[in-house]
Symmetry: D2
Subunit: 344 residues, 4 copies
Amino acid sequence: MIIPKGPRLTPEQLHEVTSIVEEFGCRIQTINGTTRSVYAILGDERSETMRGRIEGLPYIDRIDSIQSPFKLMDVRSDLASHEIRIGGVAVRRQLLVIAGQCTIDPKNPNYFIETAHAVKEAGAHVLRGGVWKPRTNPYSFQGDNRSMEILLEASRQTGLPVNTEVMDEEHLRLAVEAGVHMIQVGTRNALNYSLLRQIGAAIAGRSTIVLLKRSRHMGPIDEFISAAEYIVNFGNPNVMLCPRGTMPTLEGYRSHPDESITPLLKERTWAPVIVDPSHSVGKATYVEACSLAAIAYGADGLCIEAHVNPAKGIGDDPKQSVTPDTLRRIVERARAVWALTRST
Amino acid sequence: MIIPKGPRLTPEQLHEVTSIVEEFGCRIQTINGTTRSVYAILGDERSETMRGRIEGLPYIDRIDSIQSPFKLMDVRSDLASHEIRIGGVAVRRQLLVIAGQCTIDPKNPNYFIETAHAVKEAGAHVLRGGVWKPRTNPYSFQGDNRSMEILLEASRQTGLPVNTEVMDEEHLRLAVEAGVHMIQVGTRNALNYSLLRQIGAAIAGRSTIVLLKRSRHMGPIDEFISAAEYIVNFGNPNVMLCPRGTMPTLEGYRSHPDESITPLLKERTWAPVIVDPSHSVGKATYVEACSLAAIAYGADGLCIEAHVNPAKGIGDDPKQSVTPDTLRRIVERARAVWALTRST
Amino acid sequence: MIIPKGPRLTPEQLHEVTSIVEEFGCRIQTINGTTRSVYAILGDERSETMRGRIEGLPYIDRIDSIQSPFKLMDVRSDLASHEIRIGGVAVRRQLLVIAGQCTIDPKNPNYFIETAHAVKEAGAHVLRGGVWKPRTNPYSFQGDNRSMEILLEASRQTGLPVNTEVMDEEHLRLAVEAGVHMIQVGTRNALNYSLLRQIGAAIAGRSTIVLLKRSRHMGPIDEFISAAEYIVNFGNPNVMLCPRGTMPTLEGYRSHPDESITPLLKERTWAPVIVDPSHSVGKATYVEACSLAAIAYGADGLCIEAHVNPAKGIGDDPKQSVTPDTLRRIVERARAVWALTRST
Amino acid sequence: MIIPKGPRLTPEQLHEVTSIVEEFGCRIQTINGTTRSVYAILGDERSETMRGRIEGLPYIDRIDSIQSPFKLMDVRSDLASHEIRIGGVAVRRQLLVIAGQCTIDPKNPNYFIETAHAVKEAGAHVLRGGVWKPRTNPYSFQGDNRSMEILLEASRQTGLPVNTEVMDEEHLRLAVEAGVHMIQVGTRNALNYSLLRQIGAAIAGRSTIVLLKRSRHMGPIDEFISAAEYIVNFGNPNVMLCPRGTMPTLEGYRSHPDESITPLLKERTWAPVIVDPSHSVGKATYVEACSLAAIAYGADGLCIEAHVNPAKGIGDDPKQSVTPDTLRRIVERARAVWALTRST
């Protein structure tokens, strides 16, 4: 829908607009309102070049697009019935809990091994363990390839599938070779389309699942879902969307919690929504409330940072990690809220 | 500075906090105010793990840090006198103008060649030409390796150094091999630390310059400068910072223009600030105003999208590109504002 | 705490700063860190003029204040044990439900009377009914004094105390004279200090309660609580804080839901927190999820728009109002989440 | 334009929507796109109730409105040629400079009198002086009626018309009785429609001018302009719009500078745009850059805080006020940028 700045286009302006859309195989339909006219583009209006040319005209206010830029991720696509299964959970039908450490400490592997057993006990289905970490400060610990071995050992001992974040093609290669079950894309790479394509190509034909974090800036919802389309486009539809808080922060938290985006995502896409309360609030004491709020909003699962001894964690873990006892209580209460809100 | 939630720490709490900081070689100094006490950390307080452990304590409100996470980029570092020269311009002493197309159309190379000559005529010192493009829509044109040849041909014909955006290691390798003079990091990769490190390593020992766009989310200023430190850390200090608008947008523009960040950046870092008005406002008619505002705020240069025939551009070019005539007027007026505001 | 731009103040600068604070009866304590020094103000640092003068110095980066601007609202004030009771509910110990129409239609009083009975049946303790309405469009219906009579009649028939929004001194006078039990301050007047003082004076010595909406801009939490102090200062401590969503909106909602602010408010103030899910999301279908999330975050109550026949409502009611059946389900589920999260 | 959630409305849905719009005297026109249909409302679509009822339907995504809620303020209204004159300036044709103290100190009247003479010397056309002040902290100085006498005395001595902020009906009465030439509405009252109506009524038939600050939250542009319509509607069209920075702040400033909104306002309304750089940046050292940027964006004037001795000011003045020398330089440079950008 083309909205002119003035009440209607002059004949010359309408002619110019019509010429442009016709170059792209479309037509113009004029809608004469009482005080203003708008102009519908009939045909495939998705060409960014066509729309850019029209928006570039000085007498045009804007184009309101009603077509989503994604296809496979659409709630009405054939993939809508696709079921993602991991850790014994049929996602969307049962609550999925991912838990573990934000960062594995390669010097103290026992903490992670103990955490792995403890989160399994507490009800987690997938073990989260950060091998590599994006850090604002270039002089902070950035992760260590040796942590991959610790992650795999924890997986072997507990039988839990594992999740780790990859930041580049080399991480991706190592993670896929190691058989990591769930690959995480962090908020800083949420719109790194080269990486998303590499992931799509690397997991095609495999059962690997991708957990795609939302970019921290409050960009359009379609931008978030389109990022998933970059991956799914290669053939493996196992992508889950992960809101994790946006900027600017709600004063006192790490981010502005955004679990409330869940119903809006679910209207547009079939992809499961897994909320990360730990990065949303950034402090252990608030994680439970955020987790239950996420389930109340319809989230399909939670990704929670936990540690057997948070004070001995590294990176963000001392601040954000809950203890296994707290995790168990969160999982129990999340199940209760799930039961309450999924009934009719 | 440690701020407790209550008016002061109990002796037991103070003991716990002291134990933590002593593990990291620091000490605590208590500052007793009239109604509240706060606690200074003496020593190197930059350990994120130490700070995370303290912030994780339930009786602590927050830690206010006063140390910046970067060193080389600091306005007081030895690099502060480093001069970046390109296209005959001593940046920071003279206005730098980068101009050209957001996207090179490989099917119509003549447009770019003509644009190159025209922007040179209009006063540009560096030729911008997008070979690869990050696009929200996975089905949009994503760029083409063949455009690199067009970019180099335009550089040969005009003698202008060239700028292009890289999105991954493969692009980086091709750009460095081709001798691209200025490598651009886009807003979606502004915090892609793996790519920043790869760039740092690839340009070490070369004269290549990096133009680092600001992430669209309104993150902390230190986060922006720290991203540059990832590159400079490898030895080549030729990094320039590029504000390009933030989210959420100012209704009617593509972004919320953020050229006003310039004085705040310059208080913290010596790096030149090159503003991108084209992505800030997103529409050709507003580019001049934003350009002059940037110079008024103290920007060292501008990165402007221009096209000999905007309507024939692709991607964002039809909407955002100014004509060579407009570019010439912007450059002239920007020089006038520069002269006005740099005098004493 | 005074933070200089450079690593430390020069002796001359320190002398200047010291002179300023001494004028206000304070002293300076220097805290010498390894690489930087900061300067604590000892004494009553709340003078805005003193702080303004220091912040105005060109070599000062900022002052980090650790004293809250409010006293009576503080979680540690003597008022912390003050109990607000209305509609048979001891607020903070039991869930409070306020429900009714955003706008009373003076031409169709029966809708409001029926709604009043229906929300009582559904579990509401207080009846909400808008007599006057702030509207963006100056030509929209702005309310009608005759609606006050309808509001009072509904209160008489149902026995429910009533809530209505006042926008100026005249509304306030009419509402107090009519014996309205709960006076609401809307988001556009949330920082209208003249109105807040008039309300404080008007309700002093009465049992009237104030429901203070949060301003839509994401201002500091202390600003929100300080606004309540303007009222309480006159002697009646019956103020409840009401988050109702902030700007910029989460795309698809009316606002960015902000029930997650609840734990942050409760750390600073004893005032009950009553969340308004209807204005947060702006559409009836999302109200239940937002309500339950609010309770999960620790809210003491909900303020929900309901209508016996939403399609016949006026103003925002057709879009936002839930039916009595939905309200009943929300109240039941909110009680269940309350029971779940208040247990230990 | 009605956008359904699905690709098109079912016949039953279309029937329901049609019934609603027909109640309000409108009709529906269906626009069948290739993959989706949208539905135009023909007729006067401004009824909020009609739109609310349609938006409340569960199968509707949203209504995109293309009619502005204001009439008199519209750039195409008959008022577009209305000229506001004050202090010898024909606003929009010449640069208007308003300058003075944020707060008059009733204990030290001489500072204000001296400031008045000094800002006149420096080029100001209108004298700003705050008699009453909205303050976040209820225990801060809130202004004093006695300051009105000081303001008037300064006006008499200098011959400058004066500007002061009113916060309620009592202030308004005093200001109008005193013959204050320009009445300011602050950001916290920017959407206080009761006050706006009282102002409109009070200044009808007078030459009084209103300076309407923008609300700090980044609300819609139409909301800002509509607020002015509340005033103008009473018959006096002397309203000027004043951007003054928005929340969330650009880290390091008081607000996020928003002078860039100027061209967007000017496309919709004929009202002059007077930018307040002092509250945008909040610190004297940045005021010049922000002022020149505002002129570059097309602002018609500036409202700047100045003080003969900023360190002796009260409230925000010590931090934000520029000296008369700085003011003179700003005015000269603003004139130069005006001349540069208004030429063709």
